[in-house]
């Protein structure tokens, strides 16, 4: 059913992405060793907050929760959140697609699954409405403020990966809450990135920040044969034929761009809508195109 790309441009972005993800994972994997055995403190933390020398990164949701709960604004925290927020504003959910260790592990598992089942396409068993992501974000923030304890910070899967690695290196044990990571990874068996699609508040916040992002996957409509491979390639189950690659949910991983046999999907820098070159939104009224045609 699935043909590889004849023009030989397959796995272009996937290769870059895997490299970036591996590098990002190696940072949190090797850093505890450097801290513990070599006493090198140049880098500390993981993707809840990462310090590289004097450069601080703070995950936007974690920072927001900390501010909401303590009802105090700490300026270094805001400064630490600046770069991730700017990244999300311009590029969208790229953290999820290109850095997040949960997605990295999920992709590795997907590869293993493809290898074991010898099928190129993984079918999603359960698909829910995509707007559940917003409920996850809002619900999580409200719960955080009611409890007075930051919920996502407490048990955030991407953070837990880092915490477990650090626990293993520093204390030669694993924290119990790591079971959440296993659960999130297991959910991939039902639907790819089930957690990321519908439940991740951080993904929700980044998607919200990326509403007006500049980097999008856009389609050259006249050249498109509407084969629907892009939809099957998308780990989030988005359909670029319906313009969903322009929606908030897309995390710009480039899987669809790689998969497209006619190279009609491309990363574009969204300009102001004045020149009208790129269709910004597909109207709700237009009939959905059938992928099987």
């Amino acid at each position: 059913m699935v043909t590889t790309n004849k023009k030989g441009n397959r796995s272009r972005y996937s290769t870059y992405r895997t490299l970036v993800q591996t590098a990002a994972f190696l940072v949190i994997l090797l850093n505890p060793f450097a801290n513990y055995y070599l006493g090198v403190n140049f880098v500390q933390g993981w993707y809840q907050s990462l310090g590289i020398g004097k450069l601080w990164f703070v995950s936007p949701l974690e920072g927001l929760e900390s501010i909401l709960v303590s009802k105090l604004v700490y300026l270094p925290l805001l400064v630490g959140m600046t770069i991730p927020v700017l990244l999300a504003l311009f590029l969208g959910r790229v953290f999820c697609g290109w850095i997040c260790p949960i997605n990295y592990l999920s992709e590795l598992l997907d590869r293993l699954r493809r290898f074991l089942t010898r099928k190129k396409i993984i079918k999603d068993a359960i698909t829910l409405p995509k707007y559940l992501l917003w409920f996850a974000l809002i619900g999580e923030l409200v719960l955080t403020m009611i409890l007075g304890a930051p919920v996502f910070v407490w048990l955030s899967p991407p953070g837990l990966v880092g915490r477990e690695i650090m626990m293993a290196v520093f204390f030669r044990t694993l924290a119990i809450e790591g079971i959440i990571v296993l659960m999130v990874l297991t959910m991939n068996l039902i639907t790819r990135r089930f957690y990321c699609r519908y439940m991740c508040p951080l993904g929700g916040l980044l998607a919200f920040l990326g509403s007006k992002r500049k980097l999008v996957v856009s389609r050259i409509e006249p050249e498109c044969k509407e084969c629907g491979l892009c939809k099957m390639a998308c780990p989030l189950g988005l359909d670029p034929l319906k313009g969903e690659s322009l929606s908030n949910y897309c995390w710009n991983c480039g899987e669809c761009v790689d998969m497209c046999p006619d190279r009609t999907l491309r990363f574009r820098w969204r300009r102001t809508p004045v020149n009208g070159f790129i269709p910004l939104q597909v109207q709700n009224g237009s009939q959905p195109r059938d992928a099987s045609k």
């Binding site: 403190n41 270094p76 407490w154 048990l155 626990m167 520093f170």
Partner: protein, 211 residues
């Protein structure tokens, strides 16, 4: 167009509060209410005698809310004094704690420089108030008159200020004691598991938060 969709998806009767719905809600509320009581250990602070937050910590009231569990203080601590808690500590899972009698804080002040949230405020060694050292005079062999031990005095980083000797017996001055726990760590007398003849009481962790 959109409205038409909505009414199709949600039929009219579903909008009304039916008896069944009310009962369902009541059952959910009834099951959730006692969980607040059961969940009490989830909200109990792990801070106590010889169980201290790292230097510069905000009051325990907001600690769990402010700390984002990034673990940078744990990783940066050269003595591995700071240990992250796990899920058994409820909402405090992932927050840093120092077990003073095991590995005390050596006041290197590295953790306060990396904390990104201001949970550990960037303060100096002298300003640190992790707690207050309290001598159990009935357990301390010097105070009991059994021996002339002055280990706590010897190991104190603010010797003569925080701990001085009064007729060869150690006395803590709360004006200078940082609560680092070096004295607790050094004390040769173990009264009960985790308790020595000199203990750190985190009296400053309990102060309320002023906005």
């Amino acid at each position: 167009m959109k409205k038409g969709n909505m009414s199709r998806r949600y039929p009219l009767e579903a909008k009304h509060l039916t008896r069944r719905k009310l009962l369902k809600a009541a059952i959910v509320c009834a099951t959730l209410a006692p969980s607040k009581v059961l969940a009490k250990p989830l909200f109990d602070s792990p801070v106590g005698v010889n169980r201290l937050r790292p230097p510069g910590a905000v009051p325990e009231d907001v600690f769990a809310g402010k700390c984002i569990r990034c673990g940078r203080c744990v990783e940066v601590c050269p003595y591995h004094s700071i240990i992250p808690l796990d899920a058994r500590s409820g909402v405090y899972a992932g927050t840093p704690l120092i077990y003073a009698e095991q590995i005390p804080c050596y006041l290197c002040m590295k953790c306060v420089q990396v904390c990104p949230t201001g949970t550990l405020k960037n303060i100096s060694q002298e300003e640190t108030r992790m707690g207050l050292a309290v001598i159990e005079k009935y357990s301390c062999i010097t105070w009991r008159g059994e021996a002339l031990c002055r280990t706590c005095y010897n190991v104190c980083p603010f010797k003569e200020k925080a701990i001085h000797l009064d007729q060869l017996r150690p006395v803590v001055d709360e004006k200078y004691c940082t609560g680092c726990g070096l004295c607790t760590h050094g004390c040769p007398i173990t009264v009960s598991p985790g308790k020595k003849a000199i203990n750190i009481k985190p009296i400053f962790a309990q102060v309320g938060v002023r906005w």
